[in-house]
């Protein structure tokens, strides 16, 4: 099944949010419209973590914070061998955590060459 991540756009002022807020962080509006959140993103910072919480059967995992072309910044998993500041990434959506009876889907950012 095709999974898609969503941004929430304030109907009153147009401000984009991810994740969902109840009140717009810019104008105080309360009504939002769902818009797809996908495409190219720029890497702002990253880490490689070795002490992972329950449920991850691997020795390390990459994480990053990226900025989409629409200006939204989000955190996600990072699957890039040699991260660099400002590098262009593609956003993919896949399982980020396996849960009992329910897997969690989220962003996994990858380099464009791959």
């Amino acid at each position: 099944m095709e999974r898609e991540m969503i941004a929430y756009q304030c109907i009153q002022c147009g401000e984009l949010h991810h994740p969902l807020h109840y009140v717009c962080r810019k104008c105080g509006g309360r009504d939002f419209e769902e818009v797809p959140l996908r495409g190219e993103a720029k890497l702002l910072t990253w880490t490689k973590v070795y002490n992972l919480p329950e449920g991850y059967m691997k020795p390390s995992l990459g994480f990053g914070i990226v900025e989409f072309e629409n200006g939204l910044r989000v955190a996600g998993q990072l699957d890039v061998p040699q991260p660099k500041f400002g590098m262009k990434l593609i956003s993919t959506v896949d399982v980020v955590r396996e849960g009992v009876g329910q897997d969690y889907y989220g962003f996994i950012f990858k380099s464009q060459e791959a």
């Binding site: 880490t47 490689k48 973590v49 002490n51 919480p53 914070i65 996600g76 969690y104 989220g106």
Partner: protein
């Protein structure tokens, strides 16, 4: 508004505790009551008990902890509440105790902070702490507090030229300070070269969340700490001279770390400290000693800038110059900090305040800052989304 002071402190050693959460809390509480000269039993005079714990319910499966503590200590019918504000629970509980007295509702408040975390494995503890991050946008990804600290550190290094060696210097300083603190969890100080340059440095000090190493991250500790607060107009009841709570400030920031407008700033630290300075009528240069929340070494550096001790981007230069050591311009984390003293979440804010009380009383022994008159503590919750700053001052005769 009534003035409030601290007349009793209790701080058993942090580390691994074999008994129950309740007995750990009671040990700290009784030590603080004894220090204040409060006799248990009839006529104890304690009006309110506040217990700060983050994992009491989730980790130790006990709720209503404050109600249970009141009865275990036979302090009935005192008022009682349990306070949860993540790793800033301790300073939040002291703040609420302050408000209870300042309002006139209470004369005497006992605040006990405690966490029994060592029942968890290392990664279970990391996972538990991560539950305060955003459930869908952060926690679901496997993001943890060390992950955010690692990403934050990389930004600060790129922007201001902070190095891994600077962070290790903070760690070594705090471990050395802890050698003089009998309440500290870790009483072994590493040599800077051994954890930075030596051939086997990466074996002794591996990465946890790049660019942060083991020696940049606080340990998992059990521990409890307690203080007795009183109205200064009833101070004659107690055995000890009060240390005054001169200012308290608190501020919040975005829950989702990626939404911060300036990702290298700790906005809530800056605002909490500013509010505390304003209330105390003091400025950064009036502070003689500080306990800053160094769950990760980078935080001590950036907090030291946000509270106004150093210009932005220069905190690490002050570390290189030794200005934050005991004997330096503004000694930071004389207790050993979270890094070496330990970080039992709900106890930490109370513990930081106790270190300031000891410094202002002149009872800090080998780690005493000469003639300390004013101290600042910063207790940091989430990845900086809820911060409490507390300023204490020595009461002149």
């Amino acid at each position: 508004m009534r003035e409030v002071g601290i007349v009793g402190v209790g701080h058993p050693r942090f580390g691994k505790y074999e008994g129950s959460l309740m007995s750990m809390l009671c040990e700290a509480a009784v030590e603080a009551l004894d220090d204040a000269g409060i006799k248990t039993g009839e006529g104890h005079g304690v009006d309110q008990v506040l217990v700060s714990t983050m994992g009491g319910s989730q980790v130790n499966r006990q709720t209503g902890v404050a109600s249970a503590l009141v009865d275990t200590l036979n302090l009935r019918p005192a008022m009682a509440e349990t306070v949860e504000n993540g790793p800033a629970s301790g300073a939040s509980a002291v703040k609420l105790g302050y408000m209870a007295i300042a309002s006139g509702m209470c004369d005497v408040v006992l605040v006990v902070g405690g966490e029994r975390m060592r029942v968890l494995s290392g990664w279970e503890a990391t996972d538990f702490v991560a539950t305060m991050s955003h459930p869908e946008a952060e926690y679901a990804y496997g993001l943890t507090l060390p992950s955010f600290a690692g990403m934050f550190t990389r930004l600060i290094m790129e922007k201001y030229g902070v190095t891994e060696r600077d962070l290790a210097m903070v760690s070594v300083k705090n471990h050395e300070n802890a050698m003089f603190n009998p309440s500290a969890h870790i009483q072994l100080a590493p040599k800077l070269e051994a954890i930075t340059e030596d051939e086997d440095a990466l074996t002794i000090n591996p990465y946890v969340a790049e660019p942060l190493h083991v020696y940049d991250v606080c340990p998992v500790s059990d521990g409890a700490a307690a203080v007795v607060l009183c109205a200064l107009d009833v101070k004659e009841r107690f055995a000890r001279k009060p240390v005054k709570i001169a200012g308290i400030g608190q501020a919040t920031d975005t829950h989702v770390v990626a939404e911060r407008e300036v990702p290298t700033d700790l906005f809530a630290v800056r605002h909490a400290a500013q509010r505390a300075y304003d209330m105390a009528g003091l400025q950064p240069q009036d502070i003689d000693v500080a306990e800053l929340h160094d769950a990760f070494t980078i935080l001590e550096i950036v907090e030291s800038e946000e509270v106004g001790f150093f210009p932005r981007g220069e905190g690490h230069l002050a570390v290189r110059r030794g200005e934050t050591q005991i004997g330096g311009r503004i000694p930071i984390n004389t207790s050993g900090g979270l890094k070496a003293k330990g970080h039992p979440l709900g106890a930490t804010g109370v513990s930081q305040i106790i270190e300031l009380v000891k410094q202002l009383r002149g009872e800090a022994d080998g780690r005493q800052v000469k003639d300390a008159k004013a101290g600042l503590a910063v207790n940091f919750g989430g990845f900086g989304n809820n911060v409490v700053a507390t300023i204490l001052t020595r009461e002149e005769e």
